[in-house]
Assembly symmetry: C2
Homo-oligomer: 507 residues x 2
């Protein structure tokens, strides 16, 4: 008999909604095989058709906007405005890939025509394009029930690349996942494509992770979640007969540095803004500022005093699920007992999976006694480190890789060495700002150094698509045997690089 | 006391030249640390200066052209014209990266200006560029003493990216390696940069591989060689505290398919051309056609008859070193004893590390009994598979990943399904040609599916540079705190993408 599970409302801690059947290994493997069997149907769509598919998916999700936000609200207890915004972010992400694909941005044709005089030897006709990898397994995140979930950035970029997708839905929001799945599949079918191109696997069974990572038809993995599961996926992927890339985004401390100059005039405002960023979404963002470095001087102390005052009145929404709430309470409880730490507590939230915001303050000299402080603690907590300003570079050098790093400094302050170190550490460096809120755009990079990310790629923004394609070059092919994007005529009308020059012309 | 070794001349099997000191672990680690300590000197060179450095290195190598070819000839027994050509390929490779760097092709600035009306939320100013990873360890190949060695494609692309390089010189050509090292370093010093940016580690000790792969300062590995060592490197890199990418090119069978139509008129010519490609450089190319598939019909038989006739008179140069010669003799000797195989032998070369070219013929139905046939055998050997034409797709599907795959067919023949399968298999597909000779150009792709390559990247051609950079985005930075390529003025005058449009203008 099949096992079932239900959603839980974090605000009450109560189960609700329909019994959802856990997928078993056979179902999972069948879905992957079915996706693989039809992959060429998607791979062979031309740019117009691929873009139309993506736009249809976006429209189909947008049509369910209110129902999706409401369902996600029940399953996550995240505020409604955040969730309606997240539906729109999801939709806009997909549309931005549609726009890229329509211009041929997934194909990137590079053509070097035959050249008998090429040095050191004659050059054949070489025409390169990108082609989709094949079935992609996506692991949905707990903390973004829409934008990093069933039809989130990983799925959008993989479909845009031309890869079928099998998503492990997050068991914290199975009903939202099912609704999004239905919206996506109805759009796929309406576009005349096989529904098997997309599937979600429901269940809380940790074996699902193994089934997906080991399936021979899976060619790449997109993952957003904990380092523990991310590292397991990397290990499983490496042990395969044919290893595959794992694009894992595994969280981050996102250090924020404040120079004495930055704090001199507005320590109070910056303290509040830092806490707003740390407690946003109950501290459940991968870009949460988990480490805040202030100078060990009167300005730093003013910042800390303001944090104490401000946080005392702060109450955050319940956490996403019982496991996250329990781990938060355990880890902050353990840290609070450590010697040398100051603990700043906010207002308790005793509803459902509610917790108490907890901020720690520690001197840099004492951090070496508390290695836990330099690890990610998911939820409404952050660590303020008091460090002499001349030690900021040392602090930065002591850190592991991060998704982001922020620096508050005076516009003409000489901080180039510190900025340079932050770029060694993180994929996004922020000036006089906070890391939460990630714009989905061409220039974005949401990925950093290990252990924040497993590769030097981004999971947000247009470049995410290039994780799921690979180059193939055609040598001396007759025009009629080439894929359309490489044929002389350029029937797609897309931009190509021909003998080193960009052009939309035919050859 | 330090251990020493000497070069061997494959044509005589005799040692010659100076005693070369094996590097120990301390020397190796010191070279890596020294490279890391000065990495910013290279990273901070502007495009003009970086390009000037690369051109100076190319000039310095070219100035030694004859001496390098002569030394490499003594150490490899490869023919002089091949080696003078290889010096020029090495030089041209470096110059092509100089040209790319001068245009800012290593920086790839993408700028999205702040936009208060951006959806779903206001966009900050985001300015992305690529930055070098840090010290790169390169493992030189045995079979290209210049173009895939000390200053070969991996080194050229890593230096172009702005990464210091530590090369494990191949012990089969230590004197060539030393000469190239000196040429590179003299150019680096003449450009006013620290000589520690480049180092070679000499020695045959397998521990060197471990020292390089485990050094914390090493940020990426470029490797060309056997699957055995490539997989070891991947394992070592994954076990590090901070895992790093391994760009390994591990050889390939490079299947060549002949349709009945292709053979109908010129089976004889194609048989000779196929053997010329298989025996070129004594079969010591990673692009050697190691598997040749002919139809099990009269045309295929005509091809095989011609192979027998042609190969009998073929004598090849000695192999690169004793290990390669011994493994070749052992593996072909073992295969020759298998039932169901036809063995076609060429003319024996008994000089030094000389061997006998050995071609095998087998029916597709018997291949399953000889799994060894579908593995790479380095040296002058190839396997001709007789398969019914309607089984060609099955043959292609049974193969592991390859660097290249070639198809000889009629220009209007309907072979799209087979071509599509070959693109799933390989990174370069060739029409009516052979895989040897790899043009160094923007459209090139020298990389394929596992186990031919460890990643979906190329080790030849301009895109090789992108293996050694990573994206960093600057959010809301004051203009004066940005790297030059992202500042409004565009002082480098390079192409940038600004709000989605390519431009060389200032902002």
């Amino acid at each position: 008999m099949s096992k079932t599970f239900t959603a839980q409302n974090p605000a009450s801690g109560q189960s609700f909604g329909p019994e959802i059947t856990e997928w078993d290994q056979t179902q999972t493997n069948n879905a992957i095989k079915a996706a693989d069997a039809v992959k060429s149907k998607l791979a062979q769509t031309d740019p117009t058709k691929r873009a139309a598919l993506l736009n249809a998916i976006a429209d189909s999700i947008e049509a369910q906007k209110d129902k999706l936000a409401e369902t996600a609200h029940q399953e996550t207890a995240l505020p409604m405005p955040r969730l309606t915004g997240e539906v729109m972010r999801t939709v806009i992400q997909i549309r931005s890939f549609a726009a890229l694909v329509k211009k041929g941005g997934h194909l990137l044709p590079v053509i070097d025509l035959a050249d008998a005089n090429f040095q050191p030897v004659a050059r054949p006709d070489l025409r390169k394009t990108q082609q989709p990898l094949g079935v992609v397994a996506v692991f949905a995140a707990s903390n973004f029930p829409l934008a990093f979930s069933v039809a989130g950035g990983d799925t959008a970029s993989a479909l845009a690349a031309g890869c079928p997708v099998v998503v492990k839905a997050h068991p914290s929001h199975p009903n939202t996942s099912q609704l999004v799945y239905e919206a996506v599949v109805s759009a796929i079918v309406a576009q005349g494509l096989p529904k098997e191109l997309f599937a979600i696997v429901q269940g809380a069974n940790p074996e699902i992770t193994h089934w997906l990572a080991k399936a021979p038809e899976v060619t790449a993995i997109g993952f957003t979640g904990s380092g523990l599961v991310g590292k397991l996926l990397i290990k499983l992927a490496a042990e395969r007969e044919v290893p595959i890339p794992v694009y894992a985004e595994m969280g981050s401390l996102n250090p924020v540095f404040f120079t004495p100059t930055a704090l001199a005039e507005k320590a109070d405002d910056l303290a509040k803004a830092a806490m707003d960023s740390a407690l946003l979404g109950s501290g459940q963002f991968c870009t949460k500022p988990g480490i805040i470095i202030v100078p060990a001087d009167s300005n730093g102390d003013k910042f800390i005093t303001q944090v104490k005052e401000y946080v005392a009145a702060q109450k955050v929404g319940p956490l996403l699920n019982k496991g996250i709430a329990t781990r938060f309470t355990d880890s902050t409880g353990k840290l609070a007992k450590s010697a040398g730490l100051t603990v700043i507590s906010g207002t308790n939230n005793s509803d459902g999976f509610g917790v108490t915001p907890t901020i720690f303050v520690v001197d840099w000299a004492d951090v070496k006694n508390h290695h836990d402080l330099l690890e990610e603690h998911f939820g409404p907590t952050s660590v303020i480190i008091r460090a002499p300003f001349d030690q900021f570079l040392t602090v930065a050098k002591a850190m592991e890789g991060q998704l982001t790093a922020a620096l508050h400094a005076g516009a003409t302050e000489n901080v180039s060495e510190l900025v340079n170190q932050l770029t060694q550490l993180a994929g996004r460096v922020i000036w006089n700002g906070f890391p939460t809120a990630v714009s989905v755009t061409a220039a974005q990079n949401h990925g950093g150094q290990w252990p924040a990310s497993s590769t030097h790629t981004t999971s947000v923004g247009l470049d995410a698509i290039y994780r799921f394609v690979r180059p193939v070059v055609y040598q001396n092919f007759p025009d009629n045997q080439l894929p359309a994007q490489l044929q002389n005529a350029n029937t797609y009308g897309i931009e190509r690089v021909i003998n080193g020059e960009r052009s939309t012309k035919s050859i």
